[in-house]
């Protein structure tokens, strides 16, 4: 164990010595990797910030059934009753909005009151609002109900209030797929950057590697400093990327806060959880080590 620790300590010393010999090259690599790693992190921050908003909005999806203007209250009540009696577990609430109640409600608004008074009679139809249980397939469920109710007597129009939620969900799905692709591309960029750096380093350390082998160094001993280099470069890059993303979210949040106030809501972008960031950091280190190992194994066959 002590010997194992000593070997790692030596590898770390060698790594730091090599990095200090060419600090600008090391720092440039770290910055390039950090900038590349900001992209998926920023995307993830946006995604995880928007996702709960979409989930919250879709928590009470509503369908509004507008009756024809000449549909009687009795017909509307009958449809309301039939929906209530269907006892479908996905239907949480069914409410009939009488057209006179609706007009009364509108009259509380001065502008609407004047408009309604100018009309000879109440132009509003009876309406039924149906609240559905929110689940992952709510948009599809709503569509099925709507297509069924459109065929009922006296129904003129069925409005799916969840349609925009469906669109938002589709958009988020798209963003998620896009983010996965961006992450994969960034991972390849990081892989290539570390691979090439380690290749250059391995070639410049040819003599040292040859001497180490001559005096009995194992391949692990030869590779270890390069693995540290790859891990350190990507680890630092990821840490800087987290810092840069946190900094970038600040001005974005100021702008978003102004916008969300106009919608009478509070919304802010935030970094993924501490655990997710830790996993991100470790993944970057593992990626760096893997790339370095691949490169050093390929470029020290002499």
């Amino acid at each position: 164990m002590k010997q194992w620790l000593q070997l790692h300590r030596y590898a770390l010393q060698v790594t730091l010595r090599r990095l200090l010999q060419a600090p600008s090259s090391f720092l440039t690599n770290v910055v390039v990797i950090a900038l590349a790693l900001v992209l998926p992190l920023m995307g993830a921050s946006i995604l995880i910030s928007v996702q709960p908003v979409a989930q919250h909005v879709s928590a009470d999806p509503t369908i509004t059934i507008f009756m024809t203007p000449d549909a009687s209250l009795a017909v509307s009540e009958s449809l309301t009753k039939s929906i209530q009696e269907s006892k479908d577990p996905l239907i949480l609430d069914v409410r009939l909005v009488d057209k006179s109640q609706a007009a009364e409600s509108l009259r509380s608004n001065e502008a609407w009151r004047q408009a309604l008074e100018a009309l000879p009679n109440n132009p509003l139809p009876h309406a039924i609002t149906v609240t559905l249980a929110a689940d992952d397939a709510v948009a599809r469920t709503a569509e099925l109900f709507a297509s069924e109710w459109r065929l009922e007597e006296g129904v003129q129009f069925v409005q799916l209030d969840s349609l925009w939620v469906q669109r938002l969900e589709a958009l988020l799905r798209l963003v998620r797929i896009g983010l996965t692709l961006v992450t994969l591309i960034i991972a390849l960029v990081v892989l290539a950057a570390v691979f090439n750096t380690v290749r250059m380093q391995a070639l410049s350390q040819r003599d040292e590697i040859a001497v180490a082998r001559l005096v009995g160094a194992t391949e692990s001993f030869v590779r270890r400093p390069f693995l540290y280099q790859g891990g350190l470069t990507c680890g630092l890059g990821a840490a800087i990327a987290i810092g840069l993303t946190a900094l970038a979210l600040n001005p974005l949040n100021t702008a978003i806060s102004d916008l969300s106030k106009t919608y009478d809501t509070l919304f802010a972008l935030h970094l993924p959880s501490g655990l997710a960031l830790f996993v991100y950091l470790i993944a970057a280190i593992v990626l760096g080590c893997f790339s370095a190992r691949w490169s050093v194994t390929r470029h020290t066959r002499f």
Binding site: K2, Q3, W4, Q6, L7, Y10, Q21, D207, E208, A210, V211, A212, R213, L214, V215, G216, A217, T218, E219, F221
Partner: protein, 224 residues
């Protein structure tokens, strides 16, 4: 210590270097490998050190058959064989002490132990006051002795040197050979490739002469 049985070695061009060479070297022997340039002296030493494989035949070093040695086990054999190549292969960006500490770092020795053993090795080869000197500041003879210190610091059972006195004047060459002799006297089997007949006559127990297509093994009458 070293056993060759019907060993053949040729280069990719087809040039045969060693043909059906067999010999046995016991522990503690002091041998020279002589012959004209390009005859295969270095190749023989590299075969013994496991730096090159034979085309045919069996080579055993320190009780291990080299053709059966796995890539994983090869470094451990090299730790038992101190190798000094014609080009000393010293690390130019590290001082003398750090160069000698490398074989100990490879085996995971703690820093303090490595440092004291490296200092002792430098003392042994007469470079006691040169710990902090970079190789480039040392003379040819001192560089050779530094390479020897690096080769012996792991206390190998076998020491192999390829033309260690090639670029040295007579006195320095003798000092370097004295260092080898000292190690040989404490039981380290020593093989030295050289052209220098005077040194051979003075130090060798036995000489291998390699000439194109021919390998001879005979004792030498020592004058000292």
């Amino acid at each position: 210590m070293i056993e060759f049985q019907h060993v053949f070695k040729s280069y990719a061009s087809g040039t045969a270097i060693l043909e059906d060479v067999s010999f046995h070297v016991g522990a503690g022997e002091f041998l020279f490998v002589a012959g004209p340039s390009g005859a295969g002296k270095s190749t023989l030493l590299k075969l013994i050190a496991g730096l090159e494989p034979a085309n045919r035949g069996i080579i055993q070093v320190n009780g291990q058959r080299l053709d059966r040695l796995t890539a994983r086990a090869r470094p451990y054999l090299r730790r038992a064989v101190g190798v000094i190549l014609q080009d000393t292969h010293l690390l130019q960006d590290r001082n003398a002490l750090q160069n000698v500490m490398l074989p100990l770092a490879v085996t995971g020795q703690p820093n303090d132990v490595a440092r004291s053993r490296a200092r002792a090795a430098l003392q042994k080869v007469g470079l006691g006051g040169k710990e902090t000197a970079l190789p480039v500041t040392l003379s040819g003879g001192e560089q050779q002795r530094l390479a020897i210190a690096r080769a012996i610091v792991n206390r190998p059972a076998l020491l192999i040197a390829d033309e260690p006195t090639a670029n040295l004047d007579k006195d320095t060459a003798k000092r370097v050979m004295d260092v080898f002799k000292d190690f040989n006297q404490v039981g380290v089997t020593t093989l030295v490739a050289t052209h220098d007949e005077d040194l051979m006559a003075q130090y060798a127990d036995r000489v291998f002469v390699i000439e194109p297509g021919r390998f001879r093994d005979f004792p030498v009458n020592k004058t000292t």
